[in-house]
């Protein structure tokens, strides 16, 4: 393991890898600054650029950009009250109040420091857990992986939105769509309708771009408004930023608790994304002496969600790399990127490529710290991107999406499918269906089928009755029912 760790560290100093990280960082910052464009959109935009790159260079590019996205999102959350992505919404509550009170610099400083250190915490945890988790992971057979993958989709479908049934429809539809094309076990082309393109089924890149980028582009094109309306923008002074950064060290208990919450939630397949910062914020509020003052501009209300938000990324990489099951929707797309780069995350990955696993953790740590520094340097300048009128930004983004999706396989039909899935994405967005659940279902669908076939062949119909399987099913049911326990108990008593 030590050899793998040292080898990973040495590989990071390769000029190509360093160059890819330095290229990914500003791109991630720019995407993060555009509200609505999240880590998942960053992957959707950037994955096509990694075609032909060596695996580590591609990973460096994607993970550095991904680490930077969250920083950009917290900037707009604090300064404009507009969260860059869903996890940044928790930062708005107190961060924007601080801006209105003329303490924007302090809030930005606290957010950048908490994010950088939180990201480091998550990555250190990842490095520590990877060797420990390997024997546990190897005790998992096909039935357990089958149940874990299904539970991951159920988690994101049920907990990810206010309409659990619509989330489940999205997740199940994602699985169904992934089954088009050649069957993994028999090689029979399924539902191909006589169209050659469909022999390989639907493709990941057009699906991701259609579902996530197209609704945002259509909204910009329709309203014509710039993404942010920066009324009353306060200037940021260096003194304020430093003061805010140092405030993180005044609350070590809050910081470590938030990081732990972020990492643990990040490790749970499917739950990661939006949940962690809100849970950390709630914990900070519950444990404060005067919880009623939260929401009026408390710096702890910025530190807690920012620390947990970045710590969860290291945690989310644990199941992604060790089990091949994404810890969040963004990780689902990263899983797709791994496959595109010729790597197959899972138990075998840790045995075959331990150096790449450690390198991924180090890149994420570097990305977190470097993007905080970059954001600090560019904070005043980059905010102006959010003021670009929607009708100017939308066509530029649209052209990038189309060229990116064509580049994935040099196939113009992919461009057509971006529009098709774009229509699906717009409908799902407007009707409150969970788009990440559909994507997660699509990414995991083929794997679920393979695990199912192997489980049935090896263990028969009783494969669900293995002890570890029963424990996982019980834990998953508990996690799914716990948030709705009052409703369930009321129904039970009523009966």
């Amino acid at each position: 393991m030590l050899d793998a760790f040292l080898s990973a560290a040495a590989q990071l100093f390769n000029p190509l890898v360093l160059g890819a990280m330095l290229l990914g960082l500003p791109l991630g910052v720019v995407i993060g600054l555009l509200p609505g464009l999240s880590g998942i959109t960053a992957f959707a935009f950037l994955i096509p650029f990694t075609f032909g790159m060596p695996p580590l260079v591609g990973l460096a590019f994607l993970l550095a950009a991904y680490a930077a996205v969250s920083q950009g999102g917290s900037m707009t959350a604090i300064i404009l009250g507009v969260p860059g992505e869903v996890p940044n919404a928790a930062t708005v509550i107190d961060g924007y109040q601080m801006t209105k009170a003329g303490r924007a610099g302090e809030a930005v400083g606290a957010a950048l420091m908490a994010s950088a250190l939180g990201g480091l915490f998550g990555c250190v945890l990842l490095v520590i857990l990877l060797p420990i988790i390997q024997p546990i992971v190897l005790s998992f057979a096909s039935p357990e992986n089958f149940i874990l993958a299904l539970a991951g989709i159920a988690f994101i479908a049920v907990l990810g939105s206010g309409a659990p049934n619509r989330g489940l429809i999205a997740g199940a539809l994602g699985i169904f769509l992934s089954l088009f094309g050649y069957s993994p076990t028999e090689g029979v082309p399924r539902f191909w309708m006589g169209i050659d393109y469909m022999l390989d089924g639907f493709r990941l890149v057009p699906l991701a771009m259609g579902l996530f980028a197209m609704p945002e582009i259509l909204a910009l094109m329709t309203t014509g408004r710039s993404i942010a309306q920066p009324e009353g923008l306060e200037p940021i002074s260096l003194r304020q930023v430093v003061k805010g950064g140092l405030a993180v060290f005044k609350y070590p208990g809050l910081f470590f608790r938030s990081c732990t919450i972020g990492s643990v939630i990040g490790m749970m397949p499917g739950v990661g994304g939006a949940t962690a910062p809100f849970v950390a914020y709630a914990a900070a509020k519950q444990t404060a002496g005067d919880p009623d003052t939260f929401g009026s501009g408390r710096i702890e209300g910025v530190i807690a969600p920012e620390a947990s938000s970045n710590a969860k990324e290291g945690g989310a990489l644990v199941p992604t790399l060790a089990l091949g099951i994404p810890g969040s929707a963004s990780m689902a797309l990263l899983l797709g990127a791994f496959i595109i780069l010729g790597l197959q995350p899972g138990p075998e990955f840790l045995v075959k490529h331990p150096d790449l696993a450690f390198a991924a953790a180090m890149i994420l740590a570097f990305g977190n710290v470097a993007s905080s520094l970059l954001m600090f340097l560019l904070s005043k300048l980059l905010i102006h991107i959010t003021r670009v009128p929607g009708r100017a930004l939308a066509p530029i983004l649209l052209v990038l999406v189309m060229i990116g999706s064509y580049s994935a396989e040099n196939n113009p039909i992919d461009v057509l499918f971006v529009f098709v899935f774009g229509g699906l994405g717009v409908a799902m967005d407007r009707l409150g269906y969970n788009r990440p659940a559909l994507l997660l279902g699509f990414v995991l669908g083929e794997m679920i089928e393979r695990y199912y076939q192997v489980s049935v062949s090896a263990y028969g119909a009783s494969f669900l009755m293995r002890p570890i399987s029963i424990v996982i099913i019980a834990a998953a049911l508990l996690c799914l029912l716990w948030p709705n326990r009052t409703r369930v108990l009321r129904y039970w008593r009523y009966r």
């Binding site: 199940a172 909204a219 094109m221 329709t222 009128p389 066509p395 052209v399 580049s407 040099n410």
Partner: protein, 145 residues
Amino acid sequence: MKRGEAVFPALILAFTAAMLALGYFHYQYSWTAFAFPLAAGLVVSLLCAFEIAAILRRPGTRAPRAADTPSLSLAGLAWLFALAAFLYALGFVFGAALYLLVCLRGNHFSWRLSVGTAVVSLFVTWGVFVKVLGIQLPIKPLWMG
């Protein structure tokens, strides 16, 4: 509004059912190849049926919506789909540049911004994608094969 909301799950239900019928009656897949898609499709269909029933049973209220989304405008949609026409008619390099020029001018942006963006687009598609990354973007119009 309630009926409008029910259209989406109804369309998903119809699509899934049509695909399953195609697999069973037309392609006649073996049980091994068809079992899992059948199970997934049945789950989708059942959930959609449940959703449609829930929507129709709900007394006059609207279902939860993901976010406050603006209403769709025909002009916005037309600009969106116009790109497909430009790419088909003029290829990816020149089509994308001309689309940006026309779209920005059509939305009353200055000539300087429109032409500048089109030139940058040419640089990115030709210079970065074709020359640096070696991606063979179609330079000729797509209808020319």
